[in-house]
Amino acid sequence: MVTFARSPAGKLFARLGVFAAIIVSGSVAVLLAGQAPAASTNGGSTSGGSATADPWVAKRTSWGDPDLQGIWTTDDEFNVPVERPREFGTRAMLTEEEVAQRAREAERRARDDKADRRALREDQTGDGPEHWYEQGKVISRRTSLIVDPPDGRIPPFTPEGQKRAKAQREKSSLANGPWNGPEDLDLRDRCITRGVPNTWFPSAYNNGFQIVQSPGYVAIFYERLHEARVIPMDGRPHVSSGVRQWIGDSRGRWEGDTLVVEAKNFSEKSQFRGATENLRLVERYTRVDADTVKVEFTVDDPTTWTRPWTAMVTGKKDPFYWQIFEYACHEGNYGMFNILSGARAQERAAEQAARKAAQKATQKPTEKK
């Protein structure tokens, strides 16, 4: 059950406790016995590319569209940095030795070793032990998620873009406050949206997304924040620029076997690394083989960056990831409650201390007598 422990479902249930794990391992047994898993991504391979010789023949839906349906996860790219560390220059892939190093690091984090757990500092709201995180099953060789510019790094900000990105970073549970109200936390803390293209970047958990197609529509359902985009494919125009949305307004088309989606009409309240409502996003989804869909997305906002840039993530099938789990974030947002009530408690404590100090200061002259 090594693979189970390292699977997304396994991780999820490690969080939910042993009882749930027993239930799910039962279900997994049923799954293994009852049906051949669609794919197996485990095995010793540490390579990012597929070594199979069979040419992939693109599957089609019964109504003739390229078939991208299924549950995909970007877990395997959790260990790939968004931006390429400068020492790699324009090199897109790690050497064997570097891959082995990345694998050892992932292995260490996947262990439930108390010594590896992050210590909780007094000024932090805390974070789970590292073994909670989805480390993926296959160690990616990629040096960055960004594929263009060729150095794998986000191009320079415009001065305003830089200011906005900094301001955004400062309003987060990971920043230093002040937390006067919910608006001082970011959209993730508030359980409003992960948003696109943010949600494409693999994070600690819940990296799954499900594609369901019907004639004229492609729907993409992201596990994080239970966000669904139902994308019209019939060539209709975007909604008027007066209708702004957290995740924009998306329109799709087929270019050969590639799904191309353009999104615009983002809200000025959307948050993506300092981008504004002028953000234009173009995504290209290409199924590479039975178990792999590549999602390449280009981000263009001249008011924020000096040139467009492109990242790519790889969605893999995982037989253990048989459903998108319900991410009822807002419904259980104790974090918001605790951060705000903690901030108020600190203020009260500070006020009390100030009052005491003031009392002492006024008492001192009389004490001297």
Partner: protein
Amino acid sequence: MRSSVTHLVLKSTGVVIALVSLIVILQARAEPGATGQGQAESKTNLNGIWQAINTANWDLQEHAARPGPPQLGALLAAPAGLGVVEGNEIPYQPAAADKKKQNFEKRWSLDPEAKCYLPGVPRATYMPFPFQIIQGTDKIMIAYEYAAAVRVVHMDKVPKSPVETWMGHSVGRWEGNTLVVDVTSFNDQSWFDRSGNFHSDALHVVERYTPAGPNVIQYEATIEDPKVFTRPWKISMPLYRRLEKNAQLLEFRCVEFSEELLYGHLRKKPSR
């Protein structure tokens, strides 16, 4: 003597019935996976954007118009309705009937809709918002405009849901041209309407979506919850296709609209 023979016959009949129903249940369970892929694909086409046009979200049962929170004037007053419950009665157990009354009295703050929580099933269907059915190859996705709620109906064989959820675990099958969805694994948090009708984590809903013309689905939901009700009960209503040429789901991400209600008391007070 005669009575004991009758007893024996009755008893063995009971055993046979139990066995037969067990076999039926097992077969029914095996069915979805048995024929493999393509279960969502049917000649019946439920694709589209749909919406209920009734007042079930205010109150499932028949009701006269009634006021909303007084400070908002007539804005949030509830429109009258003839009800969607078969026979109009919701068969609460006595303690549950009391709880429903309390819920009703405190509905402005207790209704999960006020907090922008996920709506659950069947409430998601008759919220005053559109929803879209995307009938894929072996899954049917239902995306709701309200609160960005989403469900995936498994038309293929899947394991049991390992956890309880707001939106339940949906397994579907076709009965003729009716999509039948069996929904289980609920938590006890959602309500059926703004009037405090509620359920426990033992809720089991069976939904039936039957086309009734090109632009209408006849919707039925049988609601069973042995912890709250004395017997199963049923709601039904038509769902109408949104015919606007440019119809599409828009965002109703109400989390930010609920923050004042949920966290307002934790805001920093303006200093003196």
